[in-house]
Amino acid sequence: MEFRDPPEAANTLSVRVRLFARYAEVVGRDSFAFQLPHPATVSDVVALLRAQVPNGKLIPERPLVAVNLEHVRADRPVRDGEELSLLPPVAGG
């Protein structure tokens, strides 16, 4: 017996985006769910958020992004089911 993902599942990624501090404040929410075509990068997800979310253009084109609690680059491929955290410039201390 052979199992295959349906074509639409294989060609689509589901991701969750979390926003913090000033970014959450400007768009009025701290998380969003998106679907986008596979393959996609971190940069693609940010572009989708900026295009689809009210006030999304107030988020910079290349914000700091973390996946799995680590900073990642804008050209990193995104995997299905991942959570991306968009981090304003840090201000610890």
Partner: protein, 145 residues
């Protein structure tokens, strides 16, 4: 001990964590909420953070310090929530056999913490107005990412 705390920083507990008979030098850095001439009438700062990542990133920074100064011991805490003027928002301690390593390690940890920890601060002024404040070095990180 977690790196993030919503209470006052317990410096004596941090110092205990880096004491030892072979450690002859201890360096301490304490960052305090300021109301200087260039800061405006700051009443307090609201610190927020991505706490799971703060714990992970602080752990990575201390691991790096342990690799560079293997004979030293380190401790650190960052306070989150409302921190009034005059109270500590961050503390770093480093105990080492000699003062040079302790001072170098302490400076390394505080500089990396300020550059890397996912923490944000909103200043609240006497009149109730607020302003997000960013560290001047962090924009370089944004450009590099």
């Amino acid at each position: 001990m977690a790196f993030a705390t919503h209470r006052s920083i317990d410096l004596s507990r941090l110092l205990e964590s880096v004491s030892g008979v072979g450690l002859g030098g201890t360096a301490v850095f304490v960052g305090t909420v300021r109301r200087g001439p260039d800061d405006g009438p700051v009443a307090w700062i609201d610190y927020s953070g991505y706490e799971e990542m703060l714990e992970a990133e602080f752990g990575r920074i201390l691991d790096e310090a342990a690799n560079r100064w293997p004979q030293a011991r380190f401790g650190a805490q960052h306070r989150l929530g409302r921190v009034p003027v005059g109270e500590a928002s961050i503390a770093v301690v480093a105990g080492a056999p000699h003062r040079a390593e302790a001072l170098e390690a302490c400076q390394y940890i505080i500089e990396e913490a300020k550059n890397r920890l996912p923490v944000w601060k909103k200043e609240v002024f006497d009149d109730g107005m607020t302003a997000w404040r960013e560290n001047s070095v962090s924009q370089a990180d944004a450009e590099r990412a």
